[in-house]
Amino acid sequence: MIHDRFVTGHGGTKIPIPYQPVDQVGAEERAAFFTKRSIKKASKLDALYTIISMIDLTTLEGADTPGRVKQLCAKARFPIPSGIDQELSQHPKARPMPSVAAVCVYPNMVPHAARALEGTDIHLASVATGFPAGQVPLNIRVADVKAAVSYGADEIDMVINRSAFLSGDYQTVFDEIVQIKEACGEAHLKVILETGELLTYDRVQFASHLAMLAGADFIKTSTGKVNPAATLPVTLVMLNAIKDYHRSTGVKIGMKPAGGIRTAKQAIQYLCMVNEVLGPDWLTPDMFRFGASSLLNDVLKQIYKQITGRYYYDKIFSID
């Protein structure tokens, strides 16, 4: 943390943004370490159930319809077909099936999702701010957020202004997050860095701090619309930034890798990483989320296998 860059906060206060270089090879090596963890038996089952409870079940398509969103919300509430749930619950190893953490949709779909989730404690997240590129005027991005909140979203997934970030205008990136945060009101803010467009871990680290200082409740890797999306190393760099931020401020920021996490095996690796980098305090849906859709069914299959000892076949699980 040698050379700090500054942004100007409320009332003209200078806020230093920690800059901590990241060695790519070392970070990737460390991330690969977590792929070697071998999670078996009860700890695996624990992990699988926990993963479900951390999923932001997501659909972000131009083709999303009220019907499609309704189905997704049903899956969010009852991830597993009731017949199979009953079969599993006979088994001593089985635990009650949690619902997912949230459903994540476009603003236009929020009203439909809000209706479908009524009476549950599943959160409703909306991407906003001209998702995914964010290349629309700020007032429109702010209005986007306000609309989503007014429709019933209690979590907002915004994208940072990469154009400003990559041109070195960190003040704009910062100010915009501050304004979006304001527009969120009570809703919680996840700030998407779109790491696949920042490309270096140094920048990911820096952008993480910028977002946290500007008011992010969560930092999030990706929109899922850019490749690469979430990776273990990029998540590691962000977890380290969260840790450093916690060390210096005492504030705990949440983390959400999104995009590209499709298998239970991958998700368990992320969980191990959170466990060993940030510790158990972050192993809760309040502090860690997976932005994913197909992940859910893979986790369910693994739970089925783990409990019954039998291999699943796809058709016993509902598509959504």
């Binding site: 060695d23 790519q24 090879v25 070392g26 990737e28 490309l199 270096t200």
Partner: protein, 287 residues
């Protein structure tokens, strides 16, 4: 004009030691006479270096070595070449000395000196090349740049235990310093009688003080001090005495000196290799 005739008109001088670029007398006050070849006439009184002188020389060599190794290879090459030029300037004295002290013919003596000068030039030309020949970039299986380069061993103790040959003497010293080492040479008569001439060559070649140190003395007395000295990193032994070589190897064990028996007939890369360590550096390749 024969060497002997010249010697007869010669005032027998006391040849001093060459330590840290200076010509001190031995602190012990001891000397021994070196006679002209085949005669009883004293050519010179030679300082008989003591253990204390040896320590001073090693001290000087230790202090000088990092700076010498830190010079650019080009600069070391230039200085070695300068040594050859200075030796050329002393050709007459050296030839006369060899004739007088060793009974060499004019031709033979001249040939000796020429060979000595040639070896200085040879190693001058190698100083900025041996690392290119010895180094490697190693294709490790991972995102790392990995390379190996030669590094000087440090302080070399040269025990000159054989019949004196100027060509050979220059060649050993040049090889050792070429690789960035400093050297403490222990030798005795008749070569020791030429210590002043050789010291002057080294002193006037822009060679940093302490890189080459010459001690005349009795090998039987000094070899164990050299072999046991903890600041000496390598021993170069030129003799054929396998018993003594074995002893030196045993003495070397305490600080794991590299003991190198000099088996090199010609100027070559091998002597340089013998007085280098390989250093391998890894560095990740990433953004």
């Amino acid at each position: 004009m024969s060497g002997i005739n010249q010697a007869s008109s010669h005032i027998a001088k006391t040849t001093k030691l060459f330590i840290k670029g200076e010509f001190p007398r031995t602190e012990s006050g001891r000397s021994f006479p070196v006679k002209v070849h085949g005669g009883e006439q004293v050519f010179a009184h030679i300082c008989q270096a003591s253990r204390k002188d040896l320590r001073n020389a090693v001290e000087a060599a230790k202090a000088a070595q990092p700076g010498w190794a830190g010079r650019t290879a080009y600069n070391r090459a230039q200085i070695l070449y300068r040594m050859a030029e200075m030796a050329e300037g002393k050709r007459h004295e050296l030839v006369e000395g060899l004739k007088t002290l060793m009974g060499l013919s004019e031709d033979k003596a001249d040939q000796e000196v020429q060979q000595g000068i040639d070896s200085l030039v040879y190693y001058a030309g190698f100083a900025d090349k041996y690392s290119q020949v010895m180094a490697s970039v190693n294709p490790v299986a991972g995102p790392f740049h990995n390379f190996t380069t030669p590094d000087a061993v440090g302080v070399v103790g040269l025990l000159y235990d054989r019949d004196f040959s100027l060509a050979h003497f220059f060649s050993t010293i040049a090889a050792v310093v070429c690789a960035g080492n400093s050297v403490v040479v222990v030798f005795d008569q008749p070569g020791a009688a030429l210590l002043s001439e050789m010291g002057e060559i080294f002193k006037t070649s822009d060679l940093p003080a302490g890189v080459i140190n010459l001690l005349s003395g009795h090998l039987d007395e000094l070899y164990s001090f050299l072999g046991e000295h903890m600041e000496v990193h390598s021993i170069l032994y030129t003799g054929n005495d396998s018993q003594r070589l074995g002893e030196l190897k045993e003495m070397a064990i305490e600080n794991m000196k590299r003991v190198v028996p000099w088996t090199f007939d010609n100027c070559d890369l091998e002597p340089i290799v013998s007085f280098t360590e390989s250093k391998t550096v890894w560095h990740p390749v990433g953004i």
